[in-house]
């Protein structure tokens, strides 16, 4: 399959080759991590290189964290490239504790069984504060109006998504992934890795089969809702991003207050459909709430046009905003950019957030303006002076606003 590599950082590419070498040296390490991988769906060819990249990342972290007393040669093969890669990572990743971490790197059987379902019960009992455990809430856009005409078929997209979710669970067995689907008329939880049973490889396939069945059910039900609700006939209607973000934040709050473990939460929005202007206030409320609870909102745009909502969301919450150029390689973008935990992000060269234009647009002509007039009662924005606010109906007194805004209180 065509793979576009512009999303990968230089270091990332080196990692792919180097650690692939490494796995040949230590096959026993890899087997444990490979077993829970589900068979890819027949619709999409398995993106092999990408999976290997994720496994490589996982193996690298394990190796770094549980380096045995006589350390094995850290990188086989081409040592100079390895050194370059290591130099980037050295400051944090290679500062390993003197003894292996009892919790995360326990007996092979324990970690193998727990790795499938991202912890769950085992995680609740162990009191942990660690920087590499993430709680990822993935918001998936299932807008049928968008997917009907999308460049990437939904089945392929979903296969990429499953690989991505799987990779997250592989990276750390305490990782917790929740998938929320957002349609045109409703939102729902699709998958929760803490619910999935934690008993080995066979169940993983079943779990994901269940997830895909659930998403199919959801799409059918959403279509029924949309059909019964006559007002949504417009073919470019937006998905309910605000609802999905609100659900995600409620879930994150629950995890905050429930566990003994403090995960590093983040939200990833996979959006294709255009923004719905009527959701502006609700989306902004969610963004500010996420900012207050320090939850970054990452966005990956699978549609044709940029989303102004998500650009703001990622900028305000310090998340990553990415619009992949080659959607057939979606998994590679997901794995390279959005799979790493928040701590490791500081060492990766992720797509830079472009400055977001925070100028407002006026309510009367929808023009973006540099200077404007704001109603003191309802904060509506106008580009010209009006006698009466068209939004809240308050009458403005005759004081010329320009004089009024001059700082006469200056001492």
């Amino acid at each position: 399959m065509p793979l576009d590599s512009s999303g990968l950082t230089c270091a990332g590419r080196r990692l792919t080759s180097q650690v692939a070498n490494e796995t040949e040296h230590h096959p026993s390490h890899l087997y444990r991590w490979l077993t829970p991988t589900p068979r890819p769906r027949p619709t999409a060819p398995p993106p092999n290189r990408c999976l290997r990249f994720v496994h490589a990342l996982a193996v690298l972290r394990r190796l770094v964290a549980s380096r045995p007393p006589p350390p094995p040669p850290p990188y086989g093969g081409d040592r100079s490239a390895a050194a370059a890669a290591a130099a980037r990572l050295e400051p944090s990743w290679l500062v390993a504790p003197p003894e292996p971490d009892q919790r995360t790197h326990g007996s092979p059987s324990a970690s193998a069984s727990a790795s499938a379902a991202g912890g769950g019960e085992t995680a609740m009992t162990s009191k942990v504060y660690s920087d590499d455990v993430s709680l990822a809430v993935v918001v998936v856009d299932t807008n049928p109006f968008f997917w009907a005409s999308a460049a990437l078929p939904f089945a392929d997209f979903f296969a990429h998504l499953i690989h991505y979710v799987n990779s997250l669970l592989l990276l750390n067995h305490l990782n917790h992934v929740v998938v929320i689907a957002t349609g045109v008329s409703s939102c729902t939880y699709i998958f929760d890795s803490s619910d999935a049973s934690a008993s080995g490889a066979a169940d993983v396939a079943a779990t994901f089969a269940k997830a895909s069945r659930k998403i199919e059910e959801f799409i059918a039900q959403d279509a029924r809702c949309t059909a019964s609700n006559g007002s949504v006939a417009d073919s470019n209607s937006a998905s309910l991003l605000s609802g999905a973000l609100s659900l995600a934040l409620c879930y994150i709050q629950r995890v905050f207050r429930s566990g003994t473990r403090h995960p590093q939460p983040r939200i990833l929005c996979l959006q294709g459909s255009p923004d719905g202007p009527e959701q502006y206030v609700a989306v902004m409320n969610s963004i500010f709430s996420a900012q207050r609870s320090m939850v970054p909102i990452d966005s990956c745009i699978v549609g044709a046009q940029d989303s102004a909502f998500l650009q703001q969301a990622s900028y305000i919450t310090s998340g990553v905003y990415l619009k992949p150029q080659e959607l057939s390689g979606l998994f590679q973008y997901l794995a390279a950019v959005f799979a790493t935990d928040l701590h490791s992000r500081t060492f990766l060269r992720l797509p830079k957030t472009l400055g977001v234009d925070f100028r407002a647009s006026c309510f009367c002509h929808k023009k973006t303006i540099d200077m404007g007039y704001v109603c003191s009662v309802c904060l509506s924005i106008f580009c010209k002076y009006h006698k009466k606010c068209s939004t809240c109906g308050s009458e403005f007194n005759r004081v010329m606003p320009d004089l009024n805004s001059m700082p006469d209180q200056r001492q």
Binding site: Y280, A360, Y373, P401
Partner: protein, 433 residues
């Protein structure tokens, strides 16, 4: 920023229970235990002040004392406040004063050194005033705050009214000494002088944190109150000692609220109640259009001197005023050169939730489990938590009157206090839109 970068691999350090460090850790644990005993002692001390404080404790399995689960109590309290707030808004269809000019008056007279609050009234007031200022700017990004202190019968303006929380807090923390008497009249006169100059669309408010039980005034305070009333300054007072007639009179006359704190946590609660914008009385502030600028970040290669700190900055670090092209460091602010109010659109958006609040949810006790089972199972719609909790006797939860989805109590608080969206209503396409 998110507490992950600076910690430097906390996850690796935390489990490093190497045997070499074990001894050290045990020592630390012993110390912690001692500290824990210290805490218990403090609670025991407090038992003299609060009657029957031992009733708030229960034993757990290992014989340790712990407070009774007060979640439902807390929630009931919170609901009472919420309903009160929404009733006040709904009853009169009152608009909210979103653009506020607030002076915080802090009483630093002799009475503020009293030790009935630990370590002293002054320290408690300063600590919570800091939290209040942060919360205030979070909720009212377009508002302004200034600080005034009363000491030795004289008022002193600590900070000019402004929009930056950090500078206010810094100024407050640097000036914490108390002596002499306090004077309400002097404070009101001073604040009146300053607030008289703010633009007419702004809501003028004074919040007095009053420790003293008396006021030592140079003239007739009633005249000052009349003056404040005429300039539509709304005075609120939080007392730390006991109720005083003159304070009550001031608040009644000017439309503010007068409350007395019982203890530190109550004080904090009362103070934070002033953070959300209060329902405004229409004639208190004239509606007007305010000219505002929406500045953009400057270009990378532009080097200029910022107008706020007089330091050389590159353009990308600051914002450029669209009217006079001067460089300012942070938003929201007022341009130092041309006086234009500079904001960005998220600052406006941050205030919108005050205009469209989430309706209070109805309380439901699950007497009809079957009915619930039909409606999406016995789970909170927001966080998927099951309502059937084996160790809690009550399974009270709430329901949104609009979308009929059920929510747990924690989500209820989160939705109304922080999120300001109902997840149920948001994940439903309303037929009107």
């Amino acid at each position: 920023m998110y507490g992950v970068g600076v910690g430097g691999g906390g996850g690796f350090n935390a489990p490093s229970t190497a045997s070499g460090r074990r001894r050290n850790q045990e020592d630390e644990e012993e110390e912690e235990e001692e500290a824990g005993e210290g805490r218990v002692l403090e609670a025991w001390e407090r038992a003299y002040a609060d009657d029957r404080s031992w009733e708030a404790l229960q034993e757990d399995d290992s014989g340790l004392l712990r407070p009774i689960d007060t979640k439902t109590l807390v929630h009931a309290q919170y609901r009472r406040r919420l309903l009160l707030r929404s009733a006040a808004t709904a009853a009169a269809r009152i608009q909210k004063g979103l653009i506020r000019y607030l002076y915080i008056v802090i009483d630093l007279s002799r009475a503020a050194s009293e030790m009935d609050y630990r370590p002293s009234r002054m320290a408690v007031v300063a600590k919570h005033a800091e939290a209040f200022i942060r919360e205030f700017f979070d909720q009212n990004p377009l508002s302004h705050v200034g600080i005034v202190t009363i000491k030795d019968g004289i008022c002193h303006r600590l900070t000019e009214i402004g929009g930056s929380p950090e500078s206010q807090i810094k100024a407050l923390m640097g000036k914490l000494e108390c002596s002499g008497d306090s004077s309400l009249q002097n404070a009101l006169e001073l604040v009146h002088g300053y607030l008289d100059q703010v633009p007419s669309y702004g809501h003028k408010e004074v919040l007095i944190l009053y420790s003293a039980l008396n006021t030592c005034d140079p003239g007739d305070i009633m005249e000052t109150i009349e003056k404040c009333k005429k300039s539509k300054i709304r005075c609120s007072i939080i007392g730390l000692a006991a109720e005083i007639f003159i304070c009550k009179h001031i608040c009644e006359e000017t439309g503010g609220s007068y409350t007395i704190a019982l203890d530190e946590s109550h004080f904090k609660e009362l103070l934070l109640e002033h953070a959300p914008p209060s329902p405004a009385i229409a004639e208190y502030a004239a509606a007007n259009l305010i000219k505002m600028g929406f500045p953009q970040r400057g270009a990378e290669d532009l080097i200029s001197i910022c107008s706020c700190h007089k330091k050389i900055k590159s353009g990308a670090e600051g914002y450029i005023c669209p009217r006079c092209k001067v460089n300012v460091c942070e938003l929201p602010t007022e341009c130092r050169t041309c006086g234009l109010t500079l904001v960005s659109s998220p600052h406006l958006a941050r205030s919108y939730h005050h205009l469209f609040p989430v309706q209070p949810f109805d309380e439901v006790s699950s007497i009809y489990p079957n009915k619930l089972g039909q409606k999406g199972g016995q789970k909170c719609y927001g966080c998927q938590q099951s309502f059937i909790n084996p160790d809690s006797q009550s399974s009270i939860h709430v329901r949104c009157p609009k979308c009929n989805q059920h929510f747990c109590l924690d989500c209820d608080i989160y939705i109304h206090e922080s999120l300001h969206n109902c997840p149920g209503c948001e994940s439903q396409r309303s037929s009107s839109s």
